[in-house]
Symmetry: C2
Subunit: 394 residues, 2 copies
Amino acid sequence: MPELAPTLAVVGGGQLARMMAQPAIALGLPLRLLAEAPGVSAAQVIPDQLVGDHRDLDTLRAVTAGCSVVTFDHEHVPTEHLHALEADGVAVRPGPDALVHAQDKGVMRERLAALGVPCPRNAIVTSAAEVEAFGFPCVLKTTRGGYDGKGVWFVDRAEDGAGDWAEVCAEAFAVARETGVRILAEERVDFRRELSALVARSPSGQAAAYPVVASTQRDGICHEVIAPAPDLDPDLAASAQQVALRIAGELGVTGVLAVELFETTDGRILVNELAMRPHNTGHWTQDGAVTSQFENHLRAVMDLPLGSPAPRARWTVMVNILGGPDPEVGRLWDGYPHAMARDPHLRVHLYGKEPRPGRKVGHVNAYGDDLEDCLERARHAAAWFRGDLGNESE
Amino acid sequence: MPELAPTLAVVGGGQLARMMAQPAIALGLPLRLLAEAPGVSAAQVIPDQLVGDHRDLDTLRAVTAGCSVVTFDHEHVPTEHLHALEADGVAVRPGPDALVHAQDKGVMRERLAALGVPCPRNAIVTSAAEVEAFGFPCVLKTTRGGYDGKGVWFVDRAEDGAGDWAEVCAEAFAVARETGVRILAEERVDFRRELSALVARSPSGQAAAYPVVASTQRDGICHEVIAPAPDLDPDLAASAQQVALRIAGELGVTGVLAVELFETTDGRILVNELAMRPHNTGHWTQDGAVTSQFENHLRAVMDLPLGSPAPRARWTVMVNILGGPDPEVGRLWDGYPHAMARDPHLRVHLYGKEPRPGRKVGHVNAYGDDLEDCLERARHAAAWFRGDLGNESE
C-alpha cells in the first residue's frame, strides 16, 4: 500500500520524544514510539507505540520494523544493538559511531583531543592515587550513564580536613566497578558561565547553527537559558558555533548536536559535554526561533532540508519547571490561572509528568525586547508552578 | 486516583482536532477523541480515541465519560444530544444554545437581525416564486449541513436565457426536502473582499480578538489568508472586531468564534457566516501570533486565561494546500526537498490526508516584513505541493 510519508521510529518515551510529536504533526510525519512503560511522557501523545526495553535487540527490531529511520529520546541504547539495526538496513540517526561520543565521555575526550578541540584537562583514572596525581580540585565522572548531576563527583583537598577526598574517590570507583564503566577526571574549570552551541546536521551534510546561549545549572540540572548569551564576544560566539559544526561534521552526527561549553574567565571556550538529540538548552527554540530544535531534529534525521535557526525575538528566556519540595499531583494544572492571567505572552510546556522533588516536569519560555522583563516573567512563572516563590531567582 | 490535568473530549477527527493536539501537548492537557473512522487526520496523533458516530448519543456518552468538558472539530453534532450531555453534567463548549447559530443559518440570521448586526438582506424561501420575489441575483443556502461550497447555489436571471434560474431553484429545494432543511435566500453582496474576525471567549467571559484578516475563496473553499487585512480602514477593523466580540458575548460562545464578513464596495461590513471552532482563516496564527487559535480554543473551553492574540510578524500569509488534479499519494512528502530548500523560513502544516482533487490536505504559512515576498513564498509552496505550478496565483 502506498504511504503518505515514511514512519520514524523513536526510542525512549521522555519529554524530548513528546516534544518531537508536535512538529511531527505539522510535518505529517508518523512516529512509532518505543516507551519504557505505559503512559510515560511521550506515550501520552504518540498513538503508534510499543512498550519495552531499549536494551533488548528484539524489542528494538520490533519497533523499527517497516521504519526506514530510527532516532532517540536518550543515549542509552547499547552500541552493538545500533550496529545490528544498521545491518538490518535501518538508518540509525545519529549513527552508533557518532553516538558513542555522547555515550562515553572517555571516547569523547579522546576524539576531541585528536581533533584539537579545546577541552578541560582530563584523564582516565583508576585509583585515588591517580586522582591525587591528576590534581585538585577536580571532577570525577563515570564515562557512561551519568546525567543531570548523577555520576558526577566534585573532589577537592579541603585544607581543614584531609581524607574527605579519598572517600569521594572511593564512592566513585565503587559505582564504576558496579556498573562496569571507567572514571574520567577533569580539571575544575574556572569559568565565567556555561554556554551551549546547538547545531542540526543532516546525512547529506547540511547543517544549521542556532545562536549560542548561556545556561545556568543548579545541582547539575539545567535551570535557565538565555538566548542569545548576553554580552558574548562575537568572535567567541562564532568560534563556539564553528566548534559545534566541526564536531558534528567530523563525528558524522545526524540530528541535533548540543555542545555544552565553559566560557573561561580568561575568555576561552572549552567543551564540557556533548548530547546528540534535542537538548534542554535548546527548548527556547520552540517559541524563540523560526524552526524549533525538535523540528530540525526530525528534518535532519529524515534527511530533509533544515529550517532556519534564526531567532524570532531579540531575547528568549527558558526556565525549567522542577517538582517542588512538597509536590501535589494537580499543582501544575492548578497553577495555570495565575500564570496565564499574569502574563498572556508566556509560553508554557508541560511534560505530563507527576511532579516529584527536583524532577523536570516542564519549562516556560518568555521572549521580548527587554531581557530583564523576560527573566522576571519566566522566573516568576517557573517558581509559581514549583510552589516555591520564596526561593525565586533574583 | 488524582490526575495531573482534566481530560478534554473532542468530537470529530479532522484536521482541526489534529491541530488542537499540538498545543494540548504543550499544555499537558490530555485529549480523548471521537473519530469517525480509524486513522483519520486527528486519530493519527491522539492516542486516547474511540471510533464511532457523532450522531449517536451512546457513543457521545462513551467518549465524554470522565471528561468534564467536550468540544468539537465540526458543528454536526445534533443539538438534542448536546442538551443530553449537558444534563449528564458535561460542560459542552461551545454550548448547544450558542452552537445552533453556527449549525443553522436560518437561526443565525434571525438572531443577528434581532441584535442589529449588519447582514446581507435575507429571507427563508419555500418556492421558486418566492426566490423570484426575493430578487436576483441571489444566493440560496441550505440552512444546515453546507460547507466548503456544498449546499450553496448562485441564482441569477440570465438576460439571454430565462428558465435556468428555475432549474437551480428546483435543485436547491430538492436537496432541502431530501435532507429536511430549509432554504435561505441572501442578496449577492457587491463586496470588495472577504474579511474574517476571529475571537476566543471563555465561559468566564474573557475574550481575545485576533487582527482582522482578508481571505480569498475559490469555488467556495478558503484559499488564501492575509493577516492583517492590507489597507483595511482602522475604524472598519475595529468595528469588525467589535461585531465578533458582541456576537460571542450575546450568543454565549465558548471557544473560538470566526465571523466571516463581506467588506462592501461602499465601505461597510456585513456578516456572511459564523463558525464556532478554530477556523481556516485563523491557521495563520500558528506561526504568526503569540498564541495560536488552537491553543486559545483549548484555553477557552477549559476556562483558562486566554493567551495574547497579538501578531508576531508584520505580515503572515496562509495558503491552503489542495489535492491537485492528478494527485499521487506520496506527492506531499516528496514535495518537501524543494519547498524546504527554497525557503528555510516556510512553515508547513500537513493533515495526514491523502490528496484527492480539491481536498484540503494542508497549508503553508509565510511571515515577514514584506507582504509581496510572503505571498510569493506561500503561493509558490502551495502550488508546488499541489503539483500545479502552472496555475500558480499571481
